[in-house]
């Protein structure tokens, strides 16, 4: 046991941080795509689809991510689908992120004022044309700041992937600490790494929020 903190430890942490970033990207891409579908489902004209999407969101938002991870890795294997840790972590993050992003984006779609929908309808645009050409471009503007804000949560939540065997940033810190017993030092380092991954995103989201509030300067 023991020994002082050395370069190997830092490399090990760096390796963990890479996994953290990688998992975040997977979560964001997968969760983003699925979340888009959830958002569309939540505003669907079909009652059944709306209900299904709402149930999904309620259920996932009420379950700890850790449990989702566990069940998708071991649970699927138990019923015969042996998937890799990466696939399991990716799938769980996707399921989890989709519920949250779907809900955020539904809010943004609904935040596009009602009259905009009606104006598009009055011009005889079809439902999909209205969505694609009128509503979504406006919803994206509203959605950008909270989406970037949520990315910060995703980065932190990837730490739970340790349950399926990932040695990401938090877990690698734990492993090092458990052979060195320098919790204050090691957790401080981890905190700093997380902070430097997350803070730029937080700043970006604040900036976007502010510019979204400001009007474009009049050119005319």
């Amino acid at each position: 046991m023991g020994g002082a903190l050395n370069v190997n430890h830092l490399l090990f942490l760096g390796h963990g941080a890479l996994w953290t970033i990688g998992l975040s990207v997977i979560a964001l891409v997968g969760g983003g795509l699925a979340g888009f579908l959830v958002a569309l489902g939540r505003v669907s004209p079909s009652r059944t689809v709306r209900l299904l999407a709402a149930t999904y969101v309620q259920l996932i938002q009420g379950t700890p991510l850790l449990v989702i991870m566990f069940l998708s890795f071991f649970g699927l294997a138990a019923i015969g689908f042996n998937i890799s840790p990466l696939a399991a972590a990716g799938a769980s993050m996707t399921i989890f992120v989709a519920a949250y992003l779907g809900e955020i984006w539904r809010g943004c779609i609904e935040a596009v004022p009602r009259p905009q929908w009606e104006a598009a309808e009055g011009l005889a645009l079809s439902r999909s044309q209205r969505m694609v050409k009128v509503i979504l471009p406006q919803a994206i503007r509203i959605a950008t700041p909270p989406t970037v804000g949520f990315m910060v949560q995703i980065i932190k939540n990837t730490s739970l992937a340790s349950v399926v065997g990932f040695v990401e940033l938090t877990r690698s810190g734990q492993i090092i600490n458990n052979s060195m017993f320098e919790p204050f030092l090691i957790y401080s380092i981890i905190a700093v790494v997380y902070f430097s991954l997350c803070y730029p995103l937080s700043r970006l989201s604040r900036r976007l929020e502010r510019t979204a509030l400001q009007k474009k300067p009049a050119l005319a």
Partner: protein, 227 residues
């Protein structure tokens, strides 16, 4: 694969699960109440004009929101004891969760307070209300009413996140689950039961906040419209 599930072993321990769930709710309750108070003052501090306080509140919010809760809990727990201060795991868990949710609440409430238009404040000023009275009557309550759904979600998230306090020996629901599953090795059964309990807890919390909202915001109760 034929994995046979046997829930009886887990369900036999319903007392421990109940105790764990109770502790989870207790932790959440303390953190929510104290966090809400911190949130109100933090939000006022962040808007309040004094640049030093604004910066301090800003650093608090950003520092907490950009680092994982688990790391915060370890730093508080082991940091305090390294300094020779020893508190029970429950106390530290409650404190760490409060600090954590306080930062999120500060940010949400700031948005709520900022959404009160200038005209409302001027109207109150014109009526001769003091700064504190204006905050209380015209900014805090309607501001909270506006962001109430966001606050509710944040508090439910906190309840779910409180599971990490099992790491520092707080005997909440996840800790009980870990105990049961390492004693019996019935991991699936345990996790499924625990997931259902968490879903139920978050449902109970949302319902509780809905009731509280009815009590706190009579206008909403009567008209049903958002502010």
């Amino acid at each position: 694969m034929g994995l046979e599930l046997d829930f009886s072993v887990v369900l036999d321990r319903w007392r421990s699960l109940l105790d764990g769930a109770t502790l989870t709710l207790e932790l959440a309750f303390i953190a929510v109440v104290c966090g809400a108070i911190i949130g109100v003052f933090g939000a006022i501090g962040r808007r309040g004009g004094n640049p030093l306080i604004e910066r301090l509140c800003g650093a608090y919010v950003e520092g907490i929101r950009n680092t994982p809760l688990l790391v915060q809990i370890f730093l508080v727990y082991f940091g305090l004891s390294s300094l020779g201060l020893k508190f029970s795991a429950f106390t530290v868990a409650a404190v760490a969760l409060t600090i954590n949710v306080g930062a999120y609440t500060t940010e949400i409430m700031r948005a709520g307070f900022d959404s009160i238009v200038r005209g409302q404040i001027e109207a109150a000023e014109g009526l001769g209300l003091s700064k504190a009275q204006i905050y209380w009557h015209v900014i805090i309550w309607p501001g909270i009413e506006r962001v109430y759904p966001a606050l509710t979600s944040q508090f439910v998230l906190l309840m779910l996140a409180s599971s990490v306090t099992s790491q520092i020996s707080a005997e909440e629901l996840t800790a009980v689950a870990n105990y049961i599953q390492s004693e019996t090795y019935r991991s699936f059964e345990t996790y499924i039961v625990v997931a259902l309990i968490y879903v139920a807890l978050s449902f109970v919390m949302r319902f509780g906040f809905w009731l509280l909202g009815l009590a706190l915001f009579p206008r909403r109760r009567r008209l049903g419209t958002p502010l």
